[in-house]
């Protein structure tokens, strides 16, 4: 049995066509069903639906053999306790966006950086932000938020946010501007190390088929 971990929403929707190209059809729609384990047309492949940030955890501890997770979430996962130890063999080229530093339109970020001012940064990606500003030699106070990052500078909670930007429409609507790109983000296929060793034929077939569907 091979278990594939996916998150609901964009990753699930963009992974479905890839799965179909592999001949894997999901029996149920996770938006309509309340089930968290979805059967497929193949008896030995099942899909579990977990929160996006939980996908690496499920795969790392063998609760799923393979998963699809954004490279933003993977970077954050790897900085955590026992975070190393996943195989990341494939860029699926879906769920593409950028991790950016954004500030209110009126905020003079460049001068603040030059003056070495200590700034408050609101983000969901605390480790990535810490690493980024440390590399720039900036002093920051990190404020962990779980959503609606754009609100933080508007309400005076923070001067700066680090967030995922795909079209920039949300930033614009809230009168924010992106000032720095930290990294490009896309979804990766991740594989449990022991699964690749102990269930190699089945797991390898899946990796190869994904690789073929992507290119």
């Amino acid at each position: 049995m091979i278990t594939l971990a996916l998150s609901k929403g964009r990753i699930f929707e963009e992974t479905l066509p890839l799965l179909e190209a592999l001949g894997i059809r999901v029996a149920e729609d996770p938006d309509k069903s309340r089930k968290l384990i979805l059967e497929t047309n193949l008896p030995d492949v099942r899909i579990i639906i977990v929160r996006a940030s939980d996908v690496p955890t499920y795969v790392q501890y063998g609760a799923a053999d393979v998963g699809v997770a954004g490279s933003d979430i993977l970077r954050e996962h790897e900085a955590g306790i026992g975070g190393a130890g996943l195989y990341r063999p494939l860029d699926l080229k879906i769920g593409r966006c950028r991790m950016m530093v954004a500030v209110p339109e009126a905020f003079d970020y460049e001068t603040a950086v030059r003056r070495g001012a200590r700034i408050r940064v609101a983000t969901k990606f605390v480790s990535v932000a810490r690493e980024h500003f440390a590399a720039k030699g900036m002093h920051v106070d990190l404020i962990k938020l779980y959503g609606a990052m754009e609100l933080a500078p508007l309400t005076g909670l923070a001067e700066v946010i680090v967030d995922i930007v795909s079209t920039g429409a949300t930033l614009k609507a809230n009168r924010l501007r992106a000032v720095e790109e930290i990294c490009a983000v896309s979804s990766r296929l991740i594989v449990n190390q022991a699964s690749l060793k102990t269930k190699r034929p089945a797991v390898q077939t899946l990796i190869d088929a994904f690789a073929k569907a992507v290119t």
């Binding site: 955890t57 790392q60 501890y61 063998g62 306790i81 026992g82 190393a84 130890g85 996943l86 195989y87 990341r88 063999p89 494939l90 860029d91 990766r188 594989v191 449990n192 190390q193 022991a194 699964s195 690749l196 060793k197 102990t198 190699r200 390898q204």
Partner: protein, 382 residues
Amino acid sequence: MSKWALPEYIADVLPPEARRIEKLRRLVQDRFRVHGYELTLPPLLEYVDSLFTGTGHDMELSTFKLVDQLTGRTMGLRADITPQVARIDAHLLNREGVTRLCYCGPVLHTLPAGLAATREPLQIGAEVYGHAGIEADIEIQSLLLEVLGQAGVTARLDLGHVGVFRALATAAGIGREAGERLFSLLQAKDVPAIGEATADLAEPVREALRRLPRLYGGPEVLAEARHALPDLPQIHAALDDLDVLSRSIKGAAISVDLAELRGYSYHSGVVFAAYADGVPNAIARGGRYDEVGRAFGRARAATGFSLDLRELARLSPEEPACEGILAPWSEDAALKRRIGQLRRDGEIVVIALPGHDKASWEPCCNRELRAAGGDWVVVPIN
């Protein structure tokens, strides 16, 4: 918080688990003994200067530290016994020729290796010093499989060779920092990031490094690697080593993974890991670390393996509950003789101290001694 709560990732070992661990410890050390491995007991803590010698940065981060009140120097609680044993071989024993050493003891990690891991593994392992040839690797891997087999664990062995990566890195003139980064990307088989990191390298090394994370599978991968990798003598030697191992090691399914690298500043040749079905991480690891002894004044060929006995105990088959014999408390000489006899035969005889209900002994006893016609006989408890 309750006063008796233990720190996270630290646990008591209770009797049923302790029994299994102790049984395995004896069993494994017996295997080591009959193969001629001598037991050493390095200290639980020593100066960090010696603990970190030749092991690299990772070890510094995973070691608990404290200050020695006698000297003011910083001491560390060992996170790995292997470097200590290497120090003993290189510096204290200072023998010529081959030395075989083994060890067993707790180690401490500042952070758990994973969310399911303990911060206090019970590390047991065996090392061969002074033989650079493949025979030592064959011996150590066979010993690992023998030990796992005796513990009732079916494992498969995954082989790698650090020499392949080192040959490519040297050929391309990759420096230490870039080398370490590439090393960790290869460990994660991060094909997209390896593509970016090798963009500025010249062929054929660039293509070889990009192929490396895909060169895994059964022993047939070795033939594929000979075609795919550049014609460098060190690569040929590494693949020859793996060829010999994959044919010589019996008793387990063998797989090869040329991107299976560990210990950038530590390992030097063949590396291996044992996996068991249903366990999300390797259950034993080992390999060659010929350079570590140099830091202690004497470079010595070295290869060995280690594993966490606590984890092995979880995998090995369930032990029956304690099967003791309950004996009444009495000054009777015949009874004392009989008890002595049973204990010499390896039986557990529990004296029922007076005034306790017989039921309270039941968890550890399934038989009892009863007087019958002037003698004492063992009968089932009913």
